[in-house]
């Protein structure tokens, strides 16, 4: 058989039927339902008179629209109070496992999948959410789909997809001290652009990827969609196996051995080729912060806001000007030192234990600047409990950062937890789109380290110089 990539191997193993023009009907091993698109899809199949083909391969959890206020209930956010009961009722009606709002397993779909070992190498995973690529960090083929496609998965346990091209992104060498996984993925997006990965599945490779912990890998794969790639994967290796071993839904005993043997065959064959290759020097990656309204608008934390007159094309000149006026920034100004109103640490990009640990290390013994509202929203109940038992939550709280309940919160602001109009936030999330964190909210994407340092000083701050 000819040499194949990780992506080829997982895709091929899931083909139920080859159709024409490169379209395949693919088997879905796990579909995750949340309180927005999941509810729509459950309603949709009910209205079409269809049933759920494999309830044992589904999981439902509310995360998007629920409040993250301490002491919350499903009703805390009145504007979307029906989403939780509808998800619960839909899941129960079809015999789907449902994790309730304050259950110890609750969390953002892309945080709990890996955390409970529901996500395994070689699986095909779907969810009505574009950051489903996160699960690719474990060597799964995972991607976001629309709610009609979710209905399709519910009714048939399959999905119709066209085979994408493949792009390998190799991060060579070692990250510099102070650079984080968030900086790796932001630099890539800055380099290839918000549409640079369109129509492609990405495999992240190279020594700087192999050196990452599983949590770091999850951060990298999470933002694949921000350069247009629905899929971002990393070959499973010992880091993956050590991470999974013993997790609640991971196989055990003889099943584990059997699965492990299959997973060891997944990495890309040496002779396999990609439609495109991008190589990035990891050592040259500086801590990143975005200045505009697309994740591709990223610069080094010690850099300057670009001048639209220097934009490479007319379209970009226009986009940069619009972005600068929305963001209230001027060309040429240093991005560091820009006063901020809010800090948000959380989301499926940076809402895991190591993210709060990194933030705590920075704010330890310090106080959030006057006038700044800083939130830490754990990605899951498990993250919350662990951060509390390790004293991380206490460090954050003593610094004046609000420690909240798990959910998406201000990442998407559908639950009313918005950045108020005109206010400026440093956010560890994945999207700085116009209005993403609320109407007229100004978002700067960055790592938890930069977010924490900025909370302390009240201006966008390079954590490497916090003591200067």
């Amino acid at each position: 058989m000819s040499a194949r990539t990780l992506f080829d191997k997982v895709w091929d193993a899931h083909v139920v039927a080859h159709l024409e023009d490169g379209y395949d009907l693919l088997h879905v091993d796990l579909n995750l339902l949340h309180d927005l698109s999941g509810v729509n899809a459950l309603d949709d199949i009910a209205s079409r008179g269809l049933s759920v083909r494999n309830p044992e391969l589904q999981l439902a959890v509310p995360d998007h629209a629920i409040s993250t206020d301490p002491g919350r209930t499903a009703m805390s956010n009145p504007r979307s109070a029906d989403r939780v009961p509808r998800l619960r009722a839909g899941a129960h009606a079809h015999g789907i496992r449902y994790i309730d709002i304050n259950d110890p397993s609750q969390g953002i779909v892309h945080v709990i999948g890996p955390e409970f070992g529901m996500t395994l190498p070689g699986m095909l995973i779907t969810c009505g959410d574009s950051h489903t690529s996160t699960h690719g960090a474990l060597g799964a083929l995972a991607f976001g789909i629309g709610s009609s496609e979710v209905s399709h998965v519910l009714a048939t346990q399959t999905l119709l997809q066209k085979r994408p091209q493949q792009l390998r992104v190799t991060f060579e060498g070692r990250l510099a001290v102070g650079a984080t996984p968030k900086d790796m993925i932001l630099s890539l997006i800055g380099e290839i652009g918000a549409s640079g990965g369109n129509g492609h599945a990405i495999e992240y490779a190279g020594s700087a990827i192999q050196d990452l912990s599983m949590e770091g890998r999850l951060t990298v794969c999470n933002m694949s969609i921000e350069c247009g790639a629905k899929v971002g994967m990393i070959a499973p290796d010992q880091v993956t196996f050590d991470y999974l071993s013993g997790r609640e839904f991971a196989p055990r005993g003889a099943r584990w051995e059997e699965a492990l043997a299959a997973w060891r065959g997944l990495p890309t064959d040496l002779e396999a080729t990609f439609a495109r290759d991008v190589v990035i020097d990891a050592a040259a990656i500086a801590p990143q912060v975005t200045w505009g309204t697309s994740p591709e608008h990223t610069i080094a934390i010690d850099g300057h806001v670009p001048d639209p007159n220097a934009a490479p094309s007319a379209a970009q000149r226009q986009a940069w000007s619009l972005a600068l006026s929305y963001m209230g920034l001027s060309p040429g100004m240093p991005i560091a030192g820009t006063p901020i109103d809010r800090v948000f640490i959380g989301s499926c990009t940076n809402g895991r234990l190591s993210d709060f640990e990194a933030a705590a290390a920075i704010v330890y013994g310090r106080r959030v600047a006057q006038g700044v509202t800083a939130w830490a929203v754990p990605g899951s109940q498990a993250v919350k409990t662990e951060a509390e038992s390790r004293g991380i939550a206490d460090v954050l709280k003593s610094a004046g950062i609000e420690w909240r309940e798990p959910g998406c919160s201000s990442c998407v602001a559908v639950n009313g937890e918005v950045v108020p109009p005109g206010q400026r936030a440093v956010s560890t999330t994945n999207r700085n789109f116009v209005g993403r964190q609320g109407p007229q909210a100004r978002t700067h994407l960055a790592s938890p380290e930069i977010a924490a340092a900025s909370a302390i000083t009240g201006v966008i701050t390079d954590p490497r110089h916090l003591d200067d």
């Binding site: 139920v16 039927a17 024409e20 023009d21 490169g22 379209y23 009907l25 088997h27 091993d29 927005l36 698109s37 729509n40 079409r48 083909r53 309830p55 044992e56 391969l57 504007r79 979307s80 989403r83 015999g95 789907i96 496992r97 449902y98 259950d103 395994l120 574009s130 976001g144 789909i145 629309g146 009609s148 496609e149 399709h152 048939t156 346990q157 119709l160 918000a194 549409s195 369109n198 129509g199 969609i225 921000e226 247009g228 629905k230 839904f249 196989p251 099943r255 059997e258 699965a259 379209a315 986009a319 998407v412 602001a413 559908v414 109009p421 999207r431 789109f433 116009v434 209005g435 993403r436």
Partner: protein
């Protein structure tokens, strides 16, 4: 699903790159409203000023393009969030066809589920159509899916390409589910084989009352 055969009407030149689905429809609207109510909220952040009044500069607020069934966009239209509500909102304000330089992949798939035709053309082609639309202020374009042509006002039709499977499904008014329900036997046999090949996927049931589930 409503079949797509041919659409005639003005083409609104949006002429921006990286228009994301958050901008097409705000997420709160999806949590609060039914899908049929989304049309008047399409492009909310661009269409209305902070005080709620219409921004006359926005293309869909201009008389010539108010009822345009065709949208002319730039690179990477519909990037970002997977929200299908973006397509529902566009369809709700009467848009049946989007012509762009490229599309966000999930958005394009969502279009096919809702009888909306996404056409990707080269940058120079889209720019030429955009110029034409601006020149002719609201004159009608015709997009014909059967013939795979776009006829701009007062110009020769140009052809576009689309995968045969997508074209036939749109012409017939079938979404993906409609297609797949015709071949469910293949799914049964795949699953039978897979249960033996990968027992670890199947023997760890996530079901609410499966044995071994602690919670």
């Amino acid at each position: 699903m409503e079949p797509f055969c041919r659409v005639t009407g003005p083409a609104a030149p949006l002429a921006r790159d990286n228009v994301d689905t958050d901008v097409i429809i705000r997420i709160e609207r999806l949590a609060e409203l039914d899908r049929d109510a989304l049309g008047s909220y399409a492009f909310e952040a661009l269409r209305y000023r902070p005080d709620g009044s219409e921004d006359p500069d926005f293309i869909l607020n201009q008389v010539a393009y108010r009822d345009a069934p065709i949208l002319l966009a730039g690179e990477n239209f519909g990037c970002g969030s997977s929200r299908e509500g973006a397509v529902w909102a566009l369809a709700g304000c009467g848009i049946r066809c989007v012509i762009a330089k490229s599309f966000g992949g999930i958005f394009a798939n969502n279009c096919y589920q809702n009888g909306v035709l996404p056409i990707a053309l080269s940058g120079s082609c889209v720019d030429a159509l955009t110029m034409r639309a601006l020149d002719r202020q609201g004159a009608a374009f015709t997009v014909d899916l059967d013939a795979k042509t776009i006829a701009p006002p007062g110009g020769e039709p140009i052809t576009f390409s689309i995968d045969g499977l997508r074209r036939r499904a749109l012409l017939a008014g079938l979404d993906d589910l409609g297609l797949t329900l015709q071949i469910t036997d293949a799914i049964g046999s795949f699953q039978q084989r897979d249960r033996i090949a990968r027992p670890w996927i199947w023997q760890r049931s996530l079901l609410p009352n499966a044995p071994g589930n602690k919670r």
